[in-house]
Amino acid sequence: MLLTVNNMHVSYGAIKALQGISISVKGGDCIAIVGGNGAGKTTLLKIISGLLKPSEGSITFNNKNIVGMEPYNVAAEGIAHVPEGRRVFSALSVLDNLIMGSYLPSAKKDRSQSLEYMFSLFPKLEERQHQLAGTLSGGEQQMLAVARGLMLKPKLLMLDEPSSGLAPIIVEQMYEKLAEVHAQSSMTMIVVEQNVPVALSLADRGYVLENGSVMLSGNSNDLLNNPGVKEAYLGF
Amino acid sequence: MKNVKTSRQEIKNTAGNAMILNPRNYLPILGLALALLVPLIVTNSYYLGLINLVILFGAAGIAWNIVGGYARQVSLGHSIFFGIGAYTTTLLQIKFNISPWIGMFFGGVFAVLIGILMGMSVFRMKGHYFAVFTIAYSYVMMLLFQKFRGLTGGAEGLSVPFNDGSLAMFQFSSKVPYYYIFLLALVLIILLVQRLGKSRIGYYWTAIGQDEQAAMAIGINIAMAKHLALGISAFLTAILGSFYAQYVYFIEPFSMFSTHMSVEIALVAIVGGLGTVMGPVVGAIVVKPIAELTNMFLGNVLPGANYALYGLILIVAIIVIPNGLIVPINRLYQKLINRLERSSDRN
């Protein structure tokens, strides 16, 4: 296993955000984590990347315990977390945003290659590389956020709601790119989504979270056909 | 903290427990009674003088707290109101022989006018902007008071006319009358703020201090509420400023309108506890004597050692008790009340 999260608990004050979640990801896997607002998806990613400290539980990445590590050290271990809401550095140029993705020495040495790859993957970004990131459209910003995450050359890429706020056509493009990256580099990915069908169409496996626990897990097709999932998230 | 207490108390009151026998009622009265006896115990007028300053700054801290603690607008310009009060009263006394008892209300009104003027520009700002802006205002005030010397006496300052032992002119050679006047002012301000705290505007101030967006959604006119807060705070601060002038005998723009003065007023509220009624009193009890003690024991050792220690204590205090001293004190007070209540219940 590349990543094992075991019995994770976390609370914000009196609120229990996660109540004993366990997931595991094999190298080369792509998994989807789906569920409604407040189900704990984002919290889970934040815990993995070190932005939040759990009250209980363990995380093993690449045979190393990463619980309690600072986020920048987790990033150096090879986990890239593309946060929810794009969060591009709005007052930096597109290029500088990508450069920030390759800030770590391990990524910096391959910076020009990575840049080339990003520009081939997202030609729009090359066109706009000198523009301030804040002036990009929502879709372009999301592309930039993903590209910036890829610039880290991570072993594990975690995407938080990459479809949020995007027109369907853009979501589709985005997921096509993700599928392409996954296929080309067999990069391990975790995709957190509210847009259940799209996420499950990309992922091999999925976890359904509700109220901070895993309600269901299994391979994507099984989940898509699960009547409970259908009712709760697909509206039928 | 305060809020939990009041609501719990309200429940008790509706249960018909509002008796003098309730420790919630008799403890403050006991405290006040003790306070009345202080001049009999503290006969050294230096120490009584120190206590007087504690009371005065405690009251000023409460007045500051209306803006800084409830509505959470970090004012570092309260020396303006303090100074306006001090100057108006003293000038009226010097030029027209108007008693400070009357003059201070003029001072209060002027301060409110200045407050409204300030409010027009500062209430669009938050946090650091607001703080620095109020500092700039106090500098402008200081410079204006220095510049228009014909009216204000300029940098030379003003001496409060010495008038031995006259209640009508607010002058006493003993510290005792000052003590009772200041104490009365403090009690009245506590009562007022407590009352405000339980009124619509008090709820509105606290709400604004917590979340302006949400406050607007329930129909709170932010600008109006803030102006009211600044106005009341300015008025009270000006009254206390005129007390201060009468008490210190001499005022000059450089110290009256200084940021140092604003910081001292705000500091008692912060050390004591933001947005609480009694916090500033606790803060003043701690802050003022520390400044005196460091000066008393280190003032003659090495120049600067006293203030260096004061600064250090300040830093440590802010880091160790960021929420103010009132929190642990309140906890103890609650414990005391609970214990007393339990013992009376048993009876």
């Binding site: - | 003098i20 919630r24 009622n25 403050p28 009265i29 006040l32 009345l36 001049p39 050294n44 007028s45 230096y46 003088g49 120190l50 300053l53 220095q146 510049k147 010397r149 300029g154 940098a155 030379e156 300052g157 001496s159 010495f162 031995d164 209640l167 006493f172 050679s173 003993s174 005792v176 009358p177 009772y180 006047i181 104490l183 009365l184 009690v187 009245l188 009562l191 407590q194 009352r195 201060y244 210190v248 005998y249 001499f250 005022i251 000059e252 450089f254 110290s255 200084s258 140092h260 003065m261 400044a291 005196e292 000066n295 008393m296 003032g299 003659n300 120049p303 600067g304 006293n306 203030y307």
Partner: protein, 420 residues
């Protein structure tokens, strides 16, 4: 809290307060009497020490000169004690209680009261800053403790205080002396009516000096083309010098503290403004003035309330020993502080008592003649008029000569010649 109850209680409090204030002053009077009575009994012409409170600011903006003055007081106390202490009290030693009044009226009030109430001082000296002396004198007057100061504001002695004594010249006299000197030594040679510029720092010291300047300049027929206060402690004198230059003034009377004085002096020179400067005290005669200007300091003229080479017996000895002990020359405020301490000592000697009121009465009658220790103020003997001011004192004019401030005017005090 039960509101009604508290309201009633505060009304009770109000009544109590009013009744107490009614008899407050008489109460206080009684206790005062008692304590002074005890003191007198205790003194009995033989005591070990007399406590003198010393208030010089050693922190904040006033620390520089406050510290130096405090040193001078210490030296004076040593001298007094070395000379056998207070002989009328059986050789009682002067014990200094030193405290830092800070730089605000409030801190000065606290410090003054602390000394009076907790240290049982017989007399007070200090402050040097007129603003702070305004406060200490109020406290001292109420507590009936004599306060001897070297602060210069005219206001100080204008309040009819009984316990206040001012050894130094009054602020308004400085300006007068500056202008008279200019008239006699400089202007009369110029042959034209001078255009004068007066600029003064916006402080008590600055404005009271400037008043005298303006009055005398007008009297002596100067054409005042500029008369303005400026903000003390500026970072750049160029705008101000520009203004002076633009005014067409030929003689400049700046009343400035050190940093401004240096910048004005330097900037005037650098900008090539051709103007005669007669400085207004304080900043112009500190060691740092010379250190900063180097050779350019030489020739600079300024008014001073005191100087270390004023024509008075014993002054050289004091100045030399001060310099040996504290490493810098004795400046005007420090010299006056030294004299003020001796005034207190002579007063106690004369009163033969540690009782403040007795000392006050003695100082009011005191004459410190030339030759008596501490009689080092310019002018005649040190003696106080009914307002408490040393009526014989006057300011002097100094000139920097070979790195030292030399007294050059008026003739009776001068020890050096004016170098043009």
């Amino acid at each position: 809290m039960n509101k009604k109850l508290l309201v009633i209680l505060s009304l009770v409090l109000l009544v109590v307060m009013l009744s107490l204030t009614g008899c407050g002053s008489s109460d206080q009077g009684k206790s005062e009497d008692k304590s002074s009575g005890e003191k007198q009994q205790g003194s009995e012409n033989k005591v070990d020490e007399v406590v003198v409170g010393v208030l010089y600011p050693t922190s904040g903006n006033l620390a520089r000169l406050g510290g130096a003055a405090q040193d001078a007081v210490k030296l004076a106390a040593e001298d007094i004690n070395a000379a056998g202490g207070i002989k009328s009290l059986g050789g009682a030693k002067i014990k200094l209680e030193i405290t830092d009044p800070g730089s605000t009226p409030e801190s000065t009030k606290s410090a003054s009261e602390r000394l009076i109430q907790t240290k049982k001082v017989s007399a007070l000296t200090g402050d040097y800053s007129s603003s702070l002396s305004m406060v200490t004198s109020e406290i001292a007057e109420r507590a009936k403790i004599p306060f001897v100061t070297a602060s210069i504001s005219d206001k100080l002695s204008s309040r009819g205080f009984k316990y206040f004594f001012q050894v130094s010249p009054k602020g308004s006299m400085f300006g007068e002396t500056q202008v008279r000197f200019a008239k006699e030594s400089l202007v009369d040679d110029m042959g034209v009516q001078p255009k004068a510029a007066i600029i003064f720092e916006d402080t008590t010291y600055g404005s009271s000096t400037a008043e005298g300047l303006k009055k005398t300049a007008e009297e002596l027929g100067f054409d005042i083309v500029l008369n303005e206060p400026y903000q003390a402690g500026f970072t750049d004198a160029t705008p101000l010098i520009n203004k002076i230059k633009g005014s067409g003034a030929t003689i400049l009377f700046p009343v400035s503290y050190l940093t401004d004085a240096i910048l004005i002096q330097k900037t005037t020179k650098l900008m090539g403004v051709d103007i005669i400067t007669v400085g207004g005290g304080a900043g112009y005669l500190m060691p740092e003035f010379r250190d900063a200007l180097g050779a350019d300091a030489d020739g600079v003229v300024s008014v001073a309330s005191w100087n270390k080479d004023v024509n008075k017996p014993g002054i050289e000895d004091v100045a030399t020993r001060y310099k040996e002990k504290y490493g810098e020359f004795l400046t005007e405020h420090s010299g006056e502080a030294y004299a003020a301490t001796w005034v207190i000592a002579h007063g106690i000697e004369k009163a033969a008592s540690t009782d403040p009121t007795a000392i006050r009465d003695a100082i009011a009658e005191l004459i410190v003649e030339d030759g008596m220790a501490g009689g080092i103020m310019p002018g005649g003997n040190i003696e106080f008029d009914e307002t408490g001011w040393n009526k014989n004192v006057h300011p002097v004019i100094i000139q920097w000569q070979d790195g030292e401030p030399k007294t050059i005017y008026p003739a009776q005090d001068a020890t050096s010649e004016f170098r043009k």
